[in-house]
């Protein structure tokens, strides 16, 4: 009786094992499509993966997350993406989800499309790089009386690909002032080549949940969670004269953009107007002077709107809009990069337009 039981169990196991072996062999011979490379958004990102799995899964394994509600069964139609080459015919399982225009535009359902060879795909760039990062605070320095420079070392994942001028969201954990985690966006002032550390300039907002946390509670060595990068504010590739205007912590993205230019050896004509109230609100002056020496076509013009008597300020005085007005002439072939309060930005746009700058050339990041 016992022997019969053992034999039957053994036989069942053997049958299952034989079938499993057949499956494994089939998988590694018939189902093996070798190494493939997936180029996303014209080579912005390249993924080397093993073929044979659906595109959705392959991308997920490479940490590119396309939203999908059904988990890849082809029943929600959310995981659409444009596949420019290498996809083959549209599958019958995709048809119900694709309109005629989408079919003509090479849109496919990524969960149904199996990766069998090299692919060229196009997905929303924001989806491509957004990740959540566990970080450690490694630097917390006072830049002015109300602006702190926060430096975070990325622990997991340990590097971020971003463009100079983009921002991240900081998660403020639950503390005295908040019952739930709060997310606030801050531009990065670090150079994109420093992939392992990011740097932000955070100005204390009275009663601000996140800024108070950073200014009053955060210590070096603390852990923080950030996600990103986000944002369309970055330098466009051309030779136009760059008019940069910032106030307060609006310095951050512009510093990143300018440092990035220095690092890449781009000697493009650039004028940076930085507005502050009095001398104690100015910061990074030495760094900007150094930048002027390193980049001959770069000029830094700090301006104080209400210098104190003891400041002994000899530089420009007045509202930033007036300073820009005085220092510029025809701007019809220039570009503007504005960072700061919405009020400042709106006022500056008026001035820039007066000097003939086309609206399409004005880029801004409103800190509200």
């Amino acid at each position: 009786m016992l022997l019969a039981l053992v034999i039957s169990i053994g036989a069942m196991c053997a049958i299952s094992a034989v079938l499993a072996i057949i499956m494994v062999i089939a998988e590694s011979t018939i189902g093996n499509y070798g190494e493939v490379s997936i180029s996303i958004n014209d080579g912005d990102k390249k993924i080397d993966a093993r073929g044979g799995k659906p595109l959705l899964t392959t991308l997920k394994e490479a940490n590119v997350f396309i939203p999908s509600a059904c988990g890849g069964r082809g029943s929600c139609g959310l995981c659409k993406c444009k596949v420019k080459s290498g996809a083959g015919e549209i599958m019958p399982t995709e048809l119900p989800w694709l309109s005629e225009a989408e079919k003509a535009d090479h849109v496919r359902l990524s969960c149904q499309l199996k990766v069998k060879g090299d692919l060229q795909v196009e997905i929303d760039p924001a989806l491509l790089y957004v990740r959540e990062f566990r970080t450690t605070v490694v630097g917390l320095v006072n830049l002015t009386h109300d602006i702190k420079q926060l430096t975070l070392k990325l622990d997991d994942p340990n590097s971020m690909d971003y463009k100079a001028g983009q921002f991240v969201q900081i998660e403020t954990p639950v503390y005295e002032r908040t019952d739930e985690p709060v997310y606030r966006a801050y531009s990065m002032s670090s150079v994109p080549s420093s992939k392992n550390t990011i740097e932000m300039e955070i100005r204390l907002v009275p009663d601000g949940i996140c800024t108070t946390y950073v200014h009053k509670y955060l210590k070096v060595g603390d852990k923080m969670t950030v996600n990103g990068p986000y944002g369309e504010f970055h330098r466009s590739e051309n030779d136009r004269h760059m008019i940069c205007i910032a106030g307060g912590s609006g310095m951050a993205p512009l510093k990143s953009i300018l440092y990035d230019m220095r690092e890449k050896g781009i000697n493009r004509k650039a004028t940076y107007f930085f507005g502050a109230k009095s001398k104690r609100d100015l910061f990074l002056l030495d760094e900007m002077k150094q930048l002027e020496r390193d980049m001959p076509s770069f000029t830094f013009i700090p301006a104080l709107s209400a210098p104190d008597a003891e400041d002994k300020w000899e530089g420009e005085t007045g509202l930033i809009t007036n300073i820009v007005d005085c220092h510029t002439e025809d701007l019809s072939n220039a570009e503007a990069y504005l960072c700061g309060s919405p009020f400042m930005i709106d006022a500056c746009i008026v001035v820039l337009k007066k000097h003939g700058m086309p609206e399409a050339n004005i880029f801004y990041d409103k800190f509200s």
Partner: protein, 196 residues
């Protein structure tokens, strides 16, 4: 000659008098789910024909040459299911590799069929009826064609029904089940023509 008539009888009986779908009501889920378009029904039907024919033959071999000698006949349910699953998987891989049009027409339906009870039903009926290897293959093949015939008829009806007004409560699966019932009544007309 005797054997040939035997096989022919089994073949036609499997299609008409003992239609696996309309007399045994097996394989209903994909029958209801994929019968909206004639085109997709042909694909699914063809995949069922192929799988039924070959898995019944394969399972016949497994049963008589592996399970019976080892006195494991009572395990046939489990073993049949995993043999069907493995077979379907491997066939799907081969089709996908070899021909994209064939995969698009047929291959994508194969995973649906793995869990189709009609396939297992055919394998079990062939044992109950003590078929030989050839008979099993023909029976599987015929049953597949019978299933395809039923789903094609249903898809044709449903396509024509798009223009007709169905009472709200009966839309979708409701009216489809009623149609299936009426079709089964019609197929009862074949009963007694061939005995197996």
């Amino acid at each position: 000659m005797e054997a040939f008539t035997g096989l022919t009888a089994i073949f036609f009986a499997a299609i008409f008098t003992n239609n696996i779908l309309l007399t045994n009501y097996l394989g209903m889920c994909s029958f209801l789910g994929v019968s909206r378009e004639v085109k997709t029904s042909i694909g699914l039907g063809a995949a069922v024909v192929f799988t039924m024919a070959f898995t019944s033959a394969l399972n016949w071999l497994v049963y008589y040459y592996v399970l019976i000698p080892m006195h494991l006949g009572h395990f046939r349910f489990i073993v049949f299911i995993i043999v069907i699953a493995a077979f379907v998987q491997v066939v799907e891989m081969i089709i996908e590799r070899v021909s994209e049009p064939l995969y698009n027409a047929l291959g994508i339906f194969l995973p649906l069929i793995t869990v189709n009870c009609a396939i297992l039903g055919v394998c079990l009926f062939m044992l109950i009826r003590d078929y030989t290897f050839a008979e099993s293959f023909i029976y599987g093949f015929g049953s597949g064609i019978g299933w395809m015939l039923a789903i094609l008829a249903m898809a044709g009806i449903r396509q024509n029904m798009k223009r007709s007004k169905v009472p709200k409560g009966l839309e979708g699966p409701g009216i489809t089940l009623i149609i299936a019932g009426i079709m089964a009544l019609a197929f009862m007309g074949f009963s007694g023509m061939i005995n197996i």
